[in-house]
Symmetry: C2
Subunit: 616 residues, 2 copies
């Protein structure tokens, strides 16, 4: 039944107050995208994840379909399954909104000697005369050769001009009396800028969920401004697979995803520059890091093959292209550098992380982890640098958890079970992000909760919940759950619970990570105890409680002081590569050196994984 | 007085039957551009040339202004000075229409060994497996290294991918079972094409007035199709200076001119490919030649400085860029090559002409000329290659001539004065293009007429017309004219005359050319008689009668057999450069070798020019 007849209706999203006009038959999810409402859609609108729950508070919509039953029970509809048949008012619960969310921007920085890919050169060209009819470009080339003879020496062909710079050259030379400041990259003049203002660079870590961007003064190396925000592609699916599926609908869908992230980056560049009174047209170099899928999507490369074994990327090497080829609004001649990748899901973000954490150079046996839906793990031991990627799933992002949500206001992020004053049953202490009334629980909260439930004996080793072990445990058999927050407490609108299934999700996630570490140790012929340092990067890695992670067995049992949480190491790595060509060269060396271990086909993986599922 | 109020009116152009809607106050010239009517506008709409004459046959327009007097006398208005104040019907006389016009496409071809900048390579890549996780690009690179080891050897970095080619790679590899045909340019894969079809190239000579384009099979070197058409920029002014003036109105005007020519080239590429059942997306390489202004306008470079002494271009070297950077619709990764220039108004078209006529290699003392509004002249003598540019003006294009028109149907192109049967007074024999009723006279016709008028003694040496020397001479003093065609003869709607002023225009034009030749001879220390060959290129050069040119003294008095008319040598040169990298290198050598003589500042020029003005 095609309900699209061309009639137009108004859809209003509350409490955000956003409105949009759509044709009859449009889904509420499409309407939300159009209205700029960041509605969760983990499955990309396939009707399977149930994260796009909304309440229709007025107006006519299509009748419920198969698959909405669970949502309907709570009075919700799935936005992806509900079509507009008249003017509609929709209430969006906070748990279905993807923004605002806490993003990890800061990270531990390593000192780097300044050596950016671009340099500036102030040149004074000879003005032309009737006896000197040389072209403008030749005049500037001559002046550069005089001032930077090493450039000319590097290549007989001398300096080239980016087309956009060449187009500006005649006017700027004449306006500024034949004295201009050139921005030179390799042997190409990429921009002509006013004297005085140092050129800007942009480093970006494009995560599947979050994007962190840094505006850097390329003359001083100083970070002028930084910002984190949601990846705008999130409206097309929360994980990599959902986005790959979305692009398979056609070329325009793939373009839509590229335009979403490129538009978001242009906007961040503009906002960061505005914060320091500059213009994004002054950004002459950008460095992007991201996992393989984010890398391909921002470049407009096909991603379908990334969703199918053997998960082969289109491109693994470092890559340079003009920002304008992507539609990215920086200086017209600006370059974009993408770091090399390792293999499959181990992307340039992990290379950046290895660079920024220095694990390959430290000379210690070091494990580096970047925890996410896919967790990348490296092991540096002597000359060897091993790496793998494990499918830890989205549980730590709050997905697939009964009351899970992302790290947004109202999310429970910290949990302790305590003896209450009576000395009898245990009570629950918890903390929400921004101290808002509890609406759900985010990754670090779930991890704490499971660790605590195990510590006090509510959970068995296999994750089963002991019925009657605690007044807050309810249900029986496979349907047991622990009430963290009863409805009404601290203005909670409903119970927030940890279910038996939630515990199992955490077991699967932490087991995958532990199995990855164990397989790498086996490959290197090392014992757990020989690990001298564990470096944990990424947003979840910053907020997780290492004690809880050890309690559930996510990491080998090592002394607490061997662990270090370094924040957004991928972002720090991107910044290092932005300001240093030596670091750029080192990423290529890292990508070459890494031995990639494919877990899915590894002989020992299943056995190691099964063992790792247990709670210690 | 601003007459634009936002009201819209219909303007209809007869007899072409074109209609358009414009706002009140729009000029008829702007309306004609908008309607796609190729109305002459030699001065670019400044109201000074009087070529945009039209008759308003119905509707309300603005009253005549100063400067229209001459046109008004004949019942015409100047379209550039007449504003629309209501629905209007306009009659466009054939003399005011720029198209259709005879264009010179053919030229004498030199045999060239095939060695194009692009080559194809059929590669069979290894399919990936769980034990071979290399990226697609790396797999293709490996296959290429095996099949074309010399490519890898040339540069340790190996093969690069154009971004558009990289974006296609994953899908095409999988669709074609890991066997694809690559188009490689230098060390870059620029396209992936179906096996079998040879890649196409496009060579274009962009003249100020006309554009000639050639579609070439890059595997065989064969020209598959060729076409000539008007330069679409003609609606913005017929000569270089008018177009430069138009761009000075603002950035959007400059962009308009670029879009006009690039749009025209895309259209020609599409039409040429359609003629042979191919698609312009199969064109992987293009070579453009043109004078310095055309070169700058197609590249989107500023041209203002080209209109001011010392006439310095933005760029003189050979230049390569992606067609997509210009908005030119060829293969997404296609390259555009522009030949190097010499100086000032001596552009890449003249370099192409020197290449195609082989004058620099022949070992004879040779003069090469490309006659146009600016005439470029080269002199090859031993090791020396001298060159100059002279402002011969647009008289040979039919401009500034009382009844002048371009070489379109109805133009008198050949004239002889004959004794009539009575043995007394002389009659006039003439021939029009396409045998159409005479409406005016084009360049070769004017040249013939002047030569004949001098031959039979009607003209004095200084160009003055002897009153009473012939029954067809009328008027007195400075206002004498010769009636070539009386109204009514062969359906002529009005008299077609040669005026005393027309004769002077031809004297100025031919004098400039002759002075250029003479100055080059002086510089080389040669006498006229030592010239062994005179090569005449270009459209006017093809159609002019060498006897008439000698009769008016345009060329040194040499035996007729030393002259050769080679057609569109610039176009032929562009084709040679398209199919041969050796020819490409030779153009750079030519541009380097040429000694440019600036006539405007040359000590002897004025004296030589003054002498050259006389009729022999």
């Amino acid at each position: 039944m095609d309900e699209a007849t061309g009639e137009e209706y108004i859809v209003e999203f509350e409490p955000l107050g956003r409105r949009t006009q759509v044709t009859r038959g449009t889904t509420l999810l499409e309407a939300a995208r159009q209205a700029g409402v960041g509605l969760s859609a983990v499955c990309g609108g396939a009707g399977t994840c149930g994260t796009c729950r909304v309440r229709v508070v007025g107006g006519e919509v299509s009748p419920p379909v198969e698959g909405e039953r669970e949502a309907l029970a709570d009075g919700f509809r799935l936005a992806c399954r509900t079509r507009v048949l008249g003017d509609v008012r929709v209430d969006v619960p906070p748990t279905s909104i993807t923004a605002p969310q806490r993003a990890q921007i800061e990270g531990r920085e390593l000192a780097v000697e300044l050596d950016p890919a671009v340099r500036t050169c102030d040149v004074a060209a000879e003005p032309p005369s009737l006896t000197d009819l040389q072209a403008d470009a030749a005049r500037v080339r001559d002046a550069l050769d005089r001032q930077l003879p090493q450039l000319a020496a590097e290549d007989g062909a001398g300096i080239r001009f980016d087309h956009s710079a060449l187009c500006q050259l005649p006017v700027l030379l004449r306006e500024h009396d034949w004295q201009v400041r050139l921005v030179v990259r390799d042997r190409e003049v990429i921009a002509i800028v006013p004297a005085g203002a140092p050129p800007l660079g942009l480093a970006v870590d494009i995560g599947t969920t979050k994007v962190a961007a840094y505006l850097v003064d390329l003359e001083s190396g100083e970070t002028l401004a930084a910002a984190g925000r949601m990846n705008p592609q999130i409206a097309y699916g929360e994980d990599v697979m959902a986005r790959i599926a979305y692009t398979m609908d056609g070329a325009s869908q793939a373009r839509e995803l590229q335009e979403a992230i490129v538009g978001g980056l242009s906007e961040m560049a503009r906002d960061l520059c505005a914060q320091v009174g500059r213009d994004s047209a002054e950004i002459v170099e950008a460095v992007l890091v991201g996992n393989t899928c984010m890398h391909h999507l921002v470049l407009g490369l096909p991603v379908e093959q990334l969703g199918l074994a053997p998960y082969v990327p289109a491109l693994a090497r470092a890559y340079d292209l003009k920002a304008r080829e992507l539609g990215l609004c920086l200086a017209p001649g600006a370059n974009v550098h993408l770091l090399p990748k390792i293999a499959g899901f181990v992307g340039a973000d992990h290379v950046a992380m290895i660079l920024a954490t220095d694990i390959s150079e430290a000379g210690e046996v070091t494990v580096g982890l970047d925890i996410g839906t896919n967790t990348e793990i490296s092991l540096a031991a002597g000359e060897r640098l091993l790496c793998c990627s494990c499918a830890s799933g989205p549980a730590f992002e709050g997905a697939h958890i009964h009351d899970g949500m992302r790290a947004a206001p109202g999310a429970i992020e910290w949990v302790r079970l305590v003896d209450d004053a009576d000395g009898g049953a245990s009570g629950v202490e918890y903390q929400t992000i921004d101290g808002a009334p509890p609406v759900g629980i985010c990754g670090s909260g779930v991890l704490d909760a499971v660790a605590e439930l195990r510590r006090v004996g509510i959970l068995r080793e296999n994750g089963a919940m002991r019925v009657d072990s605690h007044p807050r445990v309810r249900g029986t058999g496979g349907a047991t759950e622990f009430v963290l927050v009863p409805a009404g407490e601290r203005e909670a609108l409903r119970d927030v619970v940890i279910t038996r299934k939630d515990v199992n999700e955490i077991q699967l996630a932490k087991g995958a990570i532990r199995a990855g570490v164990d397989v790498l140790l086996e490959e290197a012929g090392l014992e757990e105890g020989q690990i001298e340092r564990v470096v944990i990067a990424g947003a979840f890695g910053t907020y997780l409680d290492v004690g809880s992670a050890l309690a559930v067995g996510m990491f080998p049992p090592l002394p607490r002081e061997r662990f270090v949480q370094v924040g957004n190491a991928a972002g720090m790595g991107a910044k290092m590569v932005l300001v240093s060509r030596r670091c750029r060269a080192r990423t290529e060396e890292i990508a070459r050196r890494v031995e990639y271990i494919e877990l899915t086909t590894h002989a020992r993986f299943v056995a190691v994984y099964t063992a790792a599922l247990m709670l210690p």
